[in-house]
Structures are given as structure tokens and as C-alpha cells.
Amino acid sequence: MSTAVISSTSAAAKAPGKLRRPSIPVILALTWLVIAVGGALLADVIAPFDPLKQEILQAMQTPTPEHLLGTDVLGRDVLSRLMHGAGPTLSSVAVAVVAYTGIGLVLGLIAGYSGGWTDRAVVALTSIVIALPVIMVLFVVLSVFRGNTWLAMLVFGVLSSPIMTLLVRSSAIAVRNELFVDAARVSGLSPLYIVFRHVLPRSRGLIIVQGAVFGATALIVESSLSYLGFGTVPPNPSWGNMISEASTVITSVPWLLVPPGAVIALTALSLGVIGDSLRDSVSAGWSTSKLTPSGRRTEAPRVAEAGTGPLLAVRDLSVGYHSAGGIVPIVKDVSFEIGRGETLGLVGESGSGKTTVAFGVLGVIGEGVAVTGGSVVFDGADLVGQSDAVLAQYRGKRIAYIAQEPMVALGPSHRVGDQLREAIELNDGLSGEAAQQRVIELLTLVELRDPAGSARKYLHELSGGMAQRVSIAFALAGRPELLVADEPTTALDVTVQAGILGLLMRLREQTGMSLLIITHDWGVIADVCDRVVVMYKGEIVEQATAERIFAEPQHPYTQALLTSNPHGAQPGQDLPVITGTFTTPSMERAALAGAGTGAAS
């Protein structure tokens, strides 16, 4: 009586052809299943006693060397009864599983591979059968065909098969749309051959996972029926009716409940473990959280007087992620400053670590990544490792953020106006009517054409440019002193880019805030930045004023990056590309250190 767990990443689509080496729990589970099935098959030979032989004088014993699992109410050997009871129990489970996977496989492959009206008919049929209360139908069947558990379990498998059908179907559809299947079809291979050769192997993982999990469910259902007296008829044993017999004496010998319950649980657990381990290897693994856990430091130490010095001073900031082989650095010893009212450009290729620097400044590097050294001093206070309570004074209020992808920046299930009002309430201390007015004010400020109408919309109803304007309004809600903009125009149409950039410049004039702009676009640097920091492989290779960097780039990498700028390209000539590798400061230091030790020896 369980249901499949719904996953947004469809297990069906990712079913692998190859199965991984089994883990320890899986080996244990398989071992138990072998023992259970072996015991059932060999019950006649290896069971120590006749399961029906009563010895009233030895009734209701707890385990003894002679009766390893004790004796029941009538003095019958519990172990022997368990072994003999396994047969009827496991075989009716097998009937259900075969019906479930067999029907699901055939219908799913037919529907998924042929598509069209066949597909529609199968889907319509499954949607009706899925709506039937399966367990109830079983009781109707059992009330008519008394004691016929096999038939009941067959019906159970058949009526549950739509779940399997739909899963196989989506897996088959995924494969059908792949190129190699197209190629096979075009080259005239028969559909049957394609299904068996290409589609079926892809569904193998899925079949085992679903079959095992359904087997566990079927076992529980079978034991319930058996417990209620609709299965194997006493005195013949089944796991379920042994629990039923034990339940009559639970006050005097509760022990008798343990053996049959434990074997049912162990068997179901084993099937579940096998299914689950495969499912985990099928689905892509855990996505990492973008939410950053709270730091431990509860007080921001003042390293300098507030109000004097630069607004932001990043000193030797290093960021890395934890892996099996230790900490892998992403950003190494990055230092730069941003003055009040200044605009700093952080430029570099994708993967140069510039976005990670931005996240480090904002204190939102996410889970699994950590600042491994250095400081981020904002207005005299070091923010690295601070608790949420301390950072609450800065995030959104003094430092704000706009992201590269505006279409995924806000929550998808709340109206953008409601989220903006929340930001205002959190960061600007307004509430009620005043906050609502400020929503419209901010949306007007970012030059949205219909501020009130936009506020009522959901994110998916906005265009990219509109969404980025809303994001900017968001960031402005707390009247920040520093705005971190991570490639604010990259994801937008070229025609919209200029508008957003112009808006940012006008807002900078009006508010006097500082800007940290992450970009790979020299045009953006030329348009808006006072100073530039160039990053390469997680390190800063050069920083200078914007004018100087265009006029006299010092580092070879900066020169190469400037040359590859498509804005300066000549029509009719290939765009220059960056080739080769460049030395970074840490490599130079290492080379110097090597030379130093070499000289000393």
C-alpha cells in the first residue's frame, strides 16, 4: 500500500543501461532474499520439524536450542512453519509482480513507441484503472472467490500495472525521440527489433526498481489479506496467518509476534533497499542548496572606523569547495577595494571565478562551498563567517544584488509585487499602505511602463527585460550603498541591454551608490566603470582604471582578452580567440620560491 515518490527529474527518462556495483546494504538485502527463497524452496528437506506436528507439552516456548525460534500455541516449531509458510506467501507476491511488470511493460512499450491513437487509448485506460480503489476490489474478489489469494494478488498486480505502464511509456517516448532510434527506423529495422534491441534495455533499471518496490508493497498486502483470514487456511502456515495466530496470545507470549513479523519486514525492507539504491543511481543525485547556512560569528569585528576608508575592501579572499581529495580552490587571494560612489568592473572569462567573488562579497556562496581565507570588509566591518543575525543588517539593506538570469531570480509562485513589498518591509521598514505605495514608486523608478499592472503579475508572465527591471527595483528596496550586479545584461536581448545599462547609470547618479559589475563585456566596462579588475583562473591578474586598461593593458591575459573583444572586430575577418595559458600571480610566486630554494641549495 505505497505509492511512487514523484520526482521532478523523471527517473524514467534517465534509466541507465548499466547498473552500478552493489553497495553493502544491497548485498545484505540480496543475501536475505536468497535465504528466504532458499528456505521456502528447500523447506521439505531442511526444515527441522513437520510444520503441522503438534506437541502440546512444548507449546508457547521462547527460543530453545531445539526450537530456534520457539514453538507456537499448539507446540509447533515456529522456524519450520516460517519456512513452509514462505512458499505460499512469496509465490503469490511473485504472481502480482509478474502481472504488474509484464502488463506495464507491454502496454507501456506499445503506447510509448507507437504513439498516436494507440497511445491515447492506453493512457485513457490507465487513467480510469488508476482511479479504482484497488484494495477494495481485492475484497470484492475475495468475497466471491473465497480464499483464492493467488487470484486476488493477480488482480492486485493487474490493477496496479497502470503506474508501471505510464513509467515505461515515458521512458519509451524518451528513447524513441533519440537520433539512433530514428536512424534504426529509417534504415528499415522492424519496430519489434528496435523495441527489443534499443528501447527495452534502456528501461531495465526502471523495471527492476519498480518491480522491487512493488514487490514490497505486494508482500505487505498479501500478509494483510492472510492476516485477515483470506489467504492460506490454517493449520497450513503463511507468514500473515502466523501473525494472526500469534495475536490471540499476545498477552501471554508476545514473542510469537516477532518471527513472522520480522521476516515480512526484512523481506519488504530488502526489496525496498534494492529498489531504492537503484533509484538513487538512476536519478541525478542531490542538487546542492543555493541557500547559504548561517555563519558562527555573532558579532562583526570592527577592523576600521565606519565612514572612513573605502566602502568595500576585499583582502586575500579565497574560496573553495570540499571534495574527497581536500579543498579545491575556486578563488585565490583576491584583493580589491570599492570607493564610495565608485563603479568597479570585474572582468574575466566564464569560469574565472568572478561570480564566486560576487557571492563571497554578498555572503551567499551556497552550500558545500566555503570562504577559506581573507576578509570582506564593508564600511569597516568584516562580514566573513558572520551569522544570519549580523548579515541581516547588511543583506538587502546596505548591499543588494541583481542576478544574471532575471527569469529565475524571483519566486515563481508569488506575485512579483507581493515579493517586492516583502523586500520593502524587510529592508526599508515600511508597512501596509506605505509599503504598497513604495512598490509602485520603485517600479516607476525602474521605468516599467505599467507599474501597477506589473506588480500583479507572476514572474513567468514578464519578459526578460521587464523581469530584470523588477529585479533592480528589488535591489533598490533597501536603498543600498553597494549594488552587486552579476552580468546584469548577459541574458537579455541586445536591444534591451542598452536600456538596462542606461537605467543602472541613471540610478547610480540619483542615489550615489557604489556598483560592482561582473561582466565579460568590454563595452559595459567602457560605458560605466571607473576601475577594472581582471580575473583569470580564480586570481586577479591586473587592476587599473578603465582608461588605463584600454590604453596600456599590462598583463598578457588582459591584452588577449581585449583583442578578442568582438566590438573591435573588423568585418570580414575571423574573431580573434584566446589561445594558450597565462601565468597567474600564484604561479609566479611558486616559480620564484622554486628559484629561491634552488639558489639556496
Partner: protein, 314 residues
């Protein structure tokens, strides 16, 4: 929205009819007949024929079916073959115990399951692994066995709670609650496991979305992002699982009501199956089916309300 509800109802009605036809078709296949069952093997053929005529069982199946169907529209579900009581009265009496059991179990499963799932998603690591273990156990333990162990421990050894039986809430509310504790606990095991697993998966996905970082960077507190934006994002699949759990619980009442001697629809089905009392089973199964369809309909409506994209199109 209205179209969606209409579609759902359009699918539900055939399902109800299929269930009625199914029960009747199966009944017509019965080897032997109800009169023989009631009177026993020693009864004279005349007596059996007489009783069959009294019960209307000598008529063609189709005629009986249409009669029964017409009766349902008047609220008449026939008469119990064994007790002679009208089935509609039995259904009325037995509906509430089952309703309370299934509803409380769904509530408990939802509250504990969602809490576990959120904690595991947020904490990750060992918390998630422990939860996985509990989850596997939850769906592997037969609920009636858990129920018996609970009885041994809490009613027997500790003597804290009554072992079996049912008291209506209007008669003695305290007694009602104390008698509900064990059945609800036994029933919730699997539900908690399934809901927790789904919540963990959906919540982990919510936390991996870019908007989490954007909103956190712009001053939204972590707690609010998890409890408001995260739960909202995870709501649809989690609700689907809660609804499926409720439907599973309805199946589970048959066994658990028998264990705990609760006079509900579940034990009515179990006893009807033993006694071959088809009128009882037909009535109870039809009512169960209707409840399940209603729950599915409600779930669909809530989906639509939760999903702005669907809502806009409906």
C-alpha cells in the same frame, strides 16, 4: 478551472459505474448462492428456492443490478444478507469511525512527514540518511503487525492506553482520543515515511533554485525562504503524496479496524468478505470509491489554486 473540475467529474462517474458493475458481475459468478450460504448445506431445495425468491436473487443479474442502482439514487443500498439491516443505515453508522481514523492518520502523517522532510532537506548529510532509513522501515513494516506490537507495549506492558475498541467523540471525547492514539499511530507509519521522502526531495529541489540565492542576498531571512518560498515551491508534489496517503489509509482501515475492533466501514468490508455478505460489501466499496474520487477531485482543485501557470490557463 471549471473545465478541469468538469473533466475530473467526467472521469469519476464511469469509475463509480465500473465499480458497481464489477461487484455485480463478480457476484453473479459466485459458485453456489447466498441462500445456501445462509441456510447451510442441510437446507431443503424448496427452502433455498423460497429464500432466493424472498431476497430477489432468482431474477436475472441485469434486473437485480438495475434495481440496486435505482435504489442507490433513493439512498437505498439494499439489505444486509446476514443481519437483515438496511445497508444504508450500516453505512451511516460506520462512516464516522473510519472517517476519523483515516483523517487523523493523514493529518499526523502530513505534519510529521513534512517536518521530517524539511529538516532533512535543510540539514542534509546524516539527517537525510537517518530519514532514509526510517522511511524504508516505515513502508516495510506491515501496519497490522506494528499495531499488535503497539498494543503489547502501550496497552499491555505499560498499560497507558486502551487496547481495542471505539468510543464516539460525542459520547466521551477523552475516551475517543485515547482509543484513537494507537490505531492512528499504526496507520501513520507508512504515510510519514512517504510524505517525508517526497518533502525532502521537493524541498531540496526548491533550495537549489536560483531565486533562493537572489532573495537571500537581498535580505530575505533563511527561515522565511525555507518555510514560505520553499514549502510553497514544494507544495504540489507534497500535496499529491498526502492525498495518495489518505487513499492508502482508506485501504488500510480494513486491516486496522479489524485489529482494533473499530466498528467502521473497513471492518464491515472485512466481515462482509468473510460472511459473503455482498450487499454490505457493495455498499461499503461504493462509498469508499466515492470518497476516494472526492479526495482526488479536491486535490486537483487545490493544485490548480497553487499553480499560477495552470490557473492562468484554466
Amino acid at each position: 478551472m471549471i473545465r478541469l473540475i468538469a473533466t475530473r467529474i467526467a472521469v469519476s462517474i464511469p469509475v463509480l459505474f465500473i465499480m458497481t458493475i464489477l461487484t455485480f458481475l463478480l457476484a453473479s459468478l459466485v459458485p453456489g448462492d447466498a441462500a445456501t450460504q445462509i441456510l447451510g448445506p442441510d437446507a431443503t431445495p424448496e427452502r433455498i428456492a423460497q429464500l432466493n425468491a424472498e431476497l430477489g436473487l432468482d431474477r436475472p443479474v441485469l434486473e437485480q443490478y438495475l434495481d440496486w442502482l435505482a435504489g442507490i439514487f433513493r439512498g437505498d443500498f439494499g439489505t444486509s444478507l446476514f443481519s437483515g439491516e438496511p445497508v444504508s443505515r450500516l453505512l451511516e453508522q460506520r462512516f464516522w469511525p473510519t472517517f476519523w481514523l483515516a483523517t487523523f492518520a493523514a493529518l499526523v502523517s502530513a505534519i510529521i512527514g513534512v517536518t521530517f522532510g524539511v529538516v532533512a532537506a535543510v540539514k542534509g548529510g546524516w539527517a537525510a540518511r537517518v530519514l532514509d532509513g526510517i522511511g524504508m522501515l516505515g513502508i516495510s513494516l506491515p501496519n497490522f503487525w506494528v499495531a499488535l506490537l503497539l498494543i503489547v507495549l502501550f496497552a499491555g506492558t505499560l498499560g497507558w492506553l486502551p487496547a481495542v475498541g471505539y468510543t464516539a467523540p460525542q459520547d466521551d471525547f477523552g475516551e475517543f482520543l485515547s482509543r484513537m492514539v494507537l490505531p492512528v499511530t499504526a496507520m501513520s507509519f507508512a504515510g510519514v515515511a512517504l510524505i517525508a521522502k517526497q518533502t525532502r526531495e521537493s524541498m531540496a529541489e526548491a533550495l537549489s533554485r536560483d531565486f533562493m540565492r537572489f532573495l537571500q542576498a537581498n535580505g530575505f531571512p533563511r527561515r522565511r525562504l525555507i518555510l514560505k518560498y520553499g514549502l510553497r515551491y514544494a507544495a504540489i508534489p507534497v500535496l499529491a503524496t498526502i492525498s495518495a496517503t489518505f487513499v492508502n489509509h482508506i485501504g488500510g482501515t480494513v486491516t486496522l479496524e479489524s485489529v482494533f475492533a473499530i466498528p467502521g466501514l473497513g471492518s464491515m468490508v472485512a466481515r462482509g468478505t468473510t460472511n459473503h455478505d455482498l450487499a454490505n460489501i457493495q455498499g461499503a466499496v461504493l462509498l469508499f470509491t466515492a470518497v476516494i474520487l472526492l479526495v482526488n477531485l479536491l486535490t486537483d482543485i487545490v493544485y490548480t489554486l497553487l499553480n499560477p501557470k495552470v490557473r492562468a490557463n484554466a
